[in-house]
């Protein structure tokens, strides 16, 4: 399977029923033989995304940027949410992440309404690119950003003690930096 030039297409066609039963019978033989040998990488990957995706979906993991209503929903469900309030400014100093936190929400009080999309580019202090958060969402009521994150990921990201974030807003195909801030973790 892993040698196929289009592995996900074949598996997808099989699972979705697009593949004929006759072709599927052969595909199944290959799939299970590959699984026996510790292969079937594509099936394993899709399985991982499905299982862990279900876990994340119920906890705001697909939101990237979320809303106060979503945070309240997480709290109502009894999840241990650490809400960190961050006032806009050139330097943000978030507190340490609680040992028992399950989800960390960083509330950035910057109104980002009025744009088609918002990306956040995160760099180390020396300018090395770490990652780009794409198409983040915001609270429809006040435009602020509730960045929802699983606590283990928040702890890993906090190992980068000093980062710089650039908020890039796009409207009508034109992009501009609307905010730059540094974050210094404890």
């Amino acid at each position: 399977m892993t040698s196929s030039p289009a592995p996900f297409e074949a598996l997808d066609a099989y699972q979705s029923g697009d593949m004929s039963d006759a072709e599927a019978a052969g595909f199944e033989q290959e799939l299970f033989a590959s699984a026996a040998g510790g292969g079937a990488d594509e099936a394993r990957f899709i399985d991982l995304v499905s299982r862990l995706g279900r876990f994340l979906d119920g906890r705001g993991g697909f939101d990237i940027g979320s809303s106060r209503a979503r945070v309240d929903e997480l709290l109502r469900r009894g999840l241990r949410v650490q809400l960190i309030e961050l006032e806009p400014g050139p330097v943000l100093r978030p507190p340490a992440i609680d040992d028992d936190a399950e989800i960390v929400v960083s509330h950035i009080r910057q109104d980002v309404r009025g744009y088609d999309s918002i990306d956040v580019v995160v760099e180390k202090a020396d300018g090395t690119l770490l990652k780009t958060f794409r198409d983040i969402g915001w609270d429809p009521i006040d435009g602020s950003v509730y960045a929802v994150c699983e606590a283990p990921l928040a702890r890993i990201s906090a190992q980068q003690k000093h980062i710089r974030s650039r908020v890039i807003a796009t409207k009508d195909g034109q992009s501009q930096t609307i905010a730059v801030f540094e974050t210094i973790s404890p």
Partner: protein
């Protein structure tokens, strides 16, 4: 460094003696294929999971009782379990799917997520999802979390089924590429 893949015949031999690590390894190897088999035939995520559990339980029972005569053909053996179970149960599963769609929300609070011990993988997936476009994230959510088909995904995103299919494949490839690397926060 990736540990060597143990030969299936050795695992079958160990499982026959009731050694849990061997049974667990064989279940880990087959679970994705069994779920793929089930996804072709069943709609709901819950039905797929229950089918997979039943197949793997039958596999472990067969291993323990020495009914796997030819370890080199274990893949075909497991596929046979799948086909036999599917033959008997597709109609029953579809009935169950309907019940889940109608009444399943009442059971959400008691569902067990078997993701303990995978916190790093969860963090890695979340990190990679955040680097996808909103539309790509939605494709993953609809297609693999909610198990919707191409037509339903296309309708939700207001694109053609053909485009939904291409977007799904591209997104999966991007996601796998990201997941195959170190997490962004650790890479630099």
């Amino acid at each position: 460094m990736t540990p060597p893949v143990e030969a299936v015949s050795a695992l079958v031999q160990q499982a026959r003696q009731g050694l849990l690590p061997a049974e667990s390894e064989l279940c880990r190897r087959f679970a994705p294929a069994v779920r793929a088999f089930a996804r072709r035939r069943l709609r709901s995520v819950e039905a797929v999971e229950e089918f997979a559990q039943d197949v793997l339980l039958a596999l472990v029972e067969a291993l323990r009782t020495g009914r796997v005569e030819d370890p080199e053909r274990l893949g075909g053996f497991v596929l046979g379990i799948c086909r036999n179970l599917a033959h008997d149960r597709v109609r029953q599963r579809e009935r169950r799917t309907l019940l889940w769609e109608t009444y399943g929300r009442a059971l959400e609070s008691v569902s067990v997520e078997a993701v303990e011990g995978e916190s790093y993988e969860i963090a890695h997936l979340e990190d990679c999802l955040s680097q996808l476009s909103k539309r790509a994230r939605e494709v993953v959510r609809l297609g693999y979390v909610e198990a919707r088909d191409h037509e339903q995904v296309a309708a939700a995103l207001a694109i053609s089924p053909a485009n939904a299919r291409v977007l799904r494949h591209r997104t999966l490839s991007s996601l796998r590429d990201c997941m195959s690397k170190r997490m962004s926060w650790e890479a630099a």
